[in-house]
């Protein structure tokens, strides 16, 4: 990186030899990074490479074991986010740090509130400040609306306003595009370019190659807690970056081969589903998935996909409509009956649904088969049979662990997901429902799971893939349905679908470009 450094003034920010160890893991190992005013420096790496930890160190959320941080050439100490904010560092977190019940104004001003005398808040000045702040980026924003009522895109904007309000010089954005449509992403990029022109220094974290190539002035690649190298976008390409990121040559596109769909395995007809708060969020959805094809559902998170998947997999009772499996009506059937009929389900949030982290791996492998022989007889449990089968599954699905009796908690994210896959991809499958199957995983695990899914398809299983990652849907699906506000607005051919088109459909439900409204009534 020293080659990049022009003579003269020291960089605005410099992180030197940052090492951060957690019990049993080294998250960052001697990472050095510098940043100048008016540039966008991208930090590229796989999930779990150490990007977020590094930024948490910068933001005072984590204390490094070694290394130092310099600002304008002077060593500084950042022990808490408070210190970071004082130094002009602001961060937009991957998981929004917004408080749903508080208003937009309260969320933005929190921690640096305009005050009247006696410790009282100045609500009038607060609202005024927010309006002006919004106007500076051409955003019309209602300061008094609770943040919980805003769409994801607008929540992102509130996060950016939060950073600007604090007079930041340095802006850190951790995977800011993960939840956005291509159109929203482009809009955020516009804003970032504007901020850059105004002299902000921006750190942009991502694992998406084309994004960093588009927006960054410099790209630093991190792999397994170490810096692999730095490039300028003009000097590199996706293939090189991918290889740096993963450490070996990567096939950027999946070879999915030809599909040979036969009869309909899953038929969903006019399905209406309500969410936890009792509001109708799926309005009469119909589609079918044929045996031997991958049917992908694309959509911005919170457009009813969770509830649709819930209704198909038995976690949620549909309001009306029907679901049938190979001709048999299974509307409102519970997870156990569906499992017996040959439905495998990889849930979107494996920590919440897929696994019991405080249980041994072996017990997790029988989570939905524990109640029948050989694993139990009557009420009596058979630990030997469970252990023996667990051993076999661990080998077959390449779960990296010394023993099946270790707790699931001890596994890496990728290996945890392999346990789920080992459980759900087995048996006489008719339908496989994959909900965000690769979220947060490393490239190796992603490839493994994708290839397994294609293998099942080729074996004649119907695969329903739901993902907010548009790239994943485009790569795997034989047919793509776009879901918008609880409806399937269009079904496209997976091989010919254009990313821009799908993005537009996701964002607007149609093909005319336009900004998504500020408020959505169906926030998940």
């Amino acid at each position: 990186m020293s080659a990049d450094r022009p003579a003269g003034s020291p960089p605005l920010l410099e992180m030197r030899n940052i090492t951060k160890r957690f019990p049993g893991v080294v998250a960052c190992e001697g990472i050095s990074l510098d940043l100048r005013a008016g540039e966008i420096h991208a930090l590229l790496g796989e999930n779990g490479a150490g990007k977020s930890t590094l930024m948490n160190v910068l933001y005072g959320l984590a204390t490094p074991n070694e290394g130092e941080i310099l600002m304008d050439g002077q060593p500084i100490e950042i022990a808490s986010p408070h210190d970071a904010i004082e130094r002009g560092i602001s961060m937009v977190h991957q998981h929004f740090m917004l408080i749903p019940v508080l208003s937009v104004a309260d969320n933005i001003l929190l921690g640096d509130e305009p005050m009247r005398r006696g410790g009282l808040l100045d609500k009038g000045r607060a609202a005024e400040t927010i309006r002006e702040l919004g106007k500076s980026l051409d955003w019309e924003i209602d300061p008094n609306r609770p943040v919980g009522q805003l769409s994801v895109g607008w929540q992102q904007r509130v996060e950016i306003l939060k950073a600007i309000y604090r007079n930041a010089k340095i802006l850190v954005l951790d995977e800011p595009t993960a939840v956005l449509t291509p159109q929203e992403t482009r809009e955020i990029f516009e804003v970032l370019r504007r901020l850059k022109a105004e002299g902000y220094a921006i750190i942009f974290i991502s694992h998406k190659l084309y994004e960093v190539l588009e927006i960054a002035d410099r790209i630093t690649v991190i792999r397994r807690g170490r810096v692999v190298g730095s490039r300028r976008p003009t000097e590199t390409n996706e293939d090189e970056l991918a290889e740096m990121m993963v450490g070996r040559e990567v096939q950027l596109t999946v070879d999915r081969g030809e599909s040979h769909p036969t009869t309909a395995a899953l038929e969903v007809d006019d399905l209406v589903v309500r969410d936890d708060r009792g509001r109708e969020v799926v309005h009469g959805v119909s589609f079918e998935v044929r045996a031997g094809e991958i049917f992908g559902i694309a959509g911005v998170a919170g457009n009813g996909q969770d509830e649709l998947v819930g209704a198909i997999t038995g976690l949620r009772k549909p309001q009306s409509g029907s679901v049938s499996l190979a001709g048999e009506d299974v509307t409102g059937a519970g997870p156990r009956r569906l499992h017996r009929l040959g439905v495998g389900f990889v849930p979107g949030d494996r920590h919440r649904f897929g696994m019991v982290m405080s249980f041994p791996i072996a017990d997790n492998l029988v989570l939905n088969d524990y109640y029948h022989p050989p694993y139990s007889r009557g009420m009596a449990w058979n630990p030997e049979a469970i252990k023996a089968d667990a051993k076999a599954a661990i080998e077959k699905y390449d779960v990296r662990t010394p023993s099946a009796s270790l707790l699931a908690d001890t596994l890496s994210g990728g290996n945890q997901q392999k346990v789920v896959v080992a459980r759900e991809f087995e048996g006489h499958l008719k339908l496989l429902v994959l909900d965000q199957p690769t979220r947060g995983l490393d490239v190796g695990s992603i490839e493994f799971i994708h290839s397994q899914a294609i293998a099942r398809r080729d074996a004649g299983v119907a695969v329903l893939l739901v993902s907010a990652e548009l790239d994943e849907v485009l790569e795997l699906s034989d047919r793509i349905a776009v879901m918008y506000r609880g409806r399937i607005v269009e079904v496209l051919d997976g091989r010919t679908a254009d990313k821009e088109d799908v993005g537009l459909l996701m964002a607007t439900g149609g093909r005319e470009s336009g900004i998504q409204e500020q408020v959505v009534e169906d926030v998940a």
Partner: protein, 374 residues
């Protein structure tokens, strides 16, 4: 095996040692009020008196076991709750209702044969407790009302119920305060010593039953899965709502059994309107000290039972019996603040140590019952 027991039992054991030291300090500080001048030997005398009271004679040992019996049974109930992710503060209420129902049955069978009356009264106690556990379980499962608050409230409702029942319909003839007649046929026979009654055996049998239920049965797997992750339980095709109701009912069942055995035993023999079953609270400490494991709970109950059996001897020294309550609270304090124990005794934290209990009350706040949306 030895290493495993050591890793599980070390902190509780050391907590007890530290608590005894803290108790000694309190006794020394308050010794001017006890013996009119500061006395450094008072704690030593007190603990010697306590140990000899609990183990020094046959009756002492029997008293230890008799005192441990309700603690063990109620502690097992609370332990089952912990495994199911439920923090049952309702021990006193469940014991009271168990005692009330059981006593009603016992009084009705006062002239029957003990062979009929005793099982009937015990079953009455279990049913009463189970019903009183069922209520918070059902409320939790179907409305999300947090069991901690509901069981606290139900305790006081139970105190009102028993106060009404015993000073009204169940009041005995010619009694000097609000209590029932003496229980005759269902009174638990004494097997050994002065207080060594049949209930001790019932409690002893309950330990392996609960162990099998929790760790060797599919129902136990469902309880533990629901406790660890109710969403995963639902995903796996279990019925977390039903499991929550079952868990709370089982917890109440054992508490109710504890309550009725306390009443049927030779130490009581009748039900008073003022019966509030503080054992139900102490059983929380027992369950936590025993790390929610049936065998651990058994040892914890015996320890607490021994301390209570030793109080009579301590009172001879002029020490109020509440010293035992202080010791119990401090033991629980050190188990919770195990960092202190580790510092004092230089015990290093081991990977994979039991951490299940740390998260029992995680869902007090907004929703999070994981059973929403069917």
């Amino acid at each position: 095996m030895i290493a495993r027991v050591r890793s599980v039992a070390l902190i509780p054991a050391l907590s007890v040692v530290l608590a005894l030291l803290v108790g000694a300090m309190i006794m020394i500080l308050t010794s001017p009020l006890v013996v009119d001048s500061f006395s450094l030997t008072l704690p030593l005398e007190a603990y010697v008196a306590m140990i000899s009271g609990a183990f020094g004679s046959l009756n002492g040992i029997v008293n230890t076991f008799a005192n441990a019996t309700p603690l063990l049974l109620a502690g097992l109930g609370i332990g089952i709750g912990f495994k199911g992710g439920l923090f049952n503060i309702g021990g006193p209420g469940q014991m009271v209702i168990g005692a009330l129902v059981g006593t009603t049955v016992a009084l009705a069978l006062n002239d029957a044969s003990p062979i009929v009356a005793i099982p009937a009264a015990l079953i009455g106690g279990m049913v009463g407790g189970a019903i009183y556990g069922f209520i918070p379980g059902a409320l939790k499962a179907f409305t999300g009302a947090h069991e901690v608050v509901v069981t606290i409230m139900l305790n006081f409702v139970a105190f009102s119920i028993i106060s009404w029942a015993v000073s009204g319909p169940l009041i005995g003839t010619g009694v000097t305060f609000a209590r029932t007649d003496d229980i005759q046929a269902a009174a638990l026979p004494v097997i050994i010593g002065r207080n060594g009654h049949l209930g001790i055996l019932v409690a002893a049998v309950a330990v392996p039953i609960v162990y099998w239920l929790l760790y060797r049965s599919t129902t136990g797997f469902e309880i533990r899965t629901t406790g660890a992750n109710p969403d995963a339980a639902r995903y796996a095709g279990m019925r977390p709502r039903g499991v929550i109701v079952l868990t709370m009912s089982l917890a109440g069942l054992f508490a109710g059994l504890a309550g009725i055995i306390q009443i049927l035993g030779p130490q009581t023999g009748f039900l008073a309107a003022s019966y509030t079953a503080p054992v139900g609270f102490e059983a929380i400490a027992v369950a936590l000290l025993g790390r929610a494991h049936p065998v651990g709970i058994m040892f914890a109950a015996l320890l607490f039972g021994a301390m209570q059996a030793g109080t009579n001897n301590m009172q001879i020294l002029g020490l109020p019996p509440q010293m035992v309550d202080i010791l119990q609270a401090v033991i629980l304090l050190f188990i919770t603040a195990d960092i202190v124990v580790r510092r004092v005794f230089r015990v290093r934290e081991q990977a994979g140590e039991l951490v299940e209990i740390a998260s029992v009350s995680r869902s007090y706040g907004g929703g999070g019952t994981g059973t929403a949306g069917t």
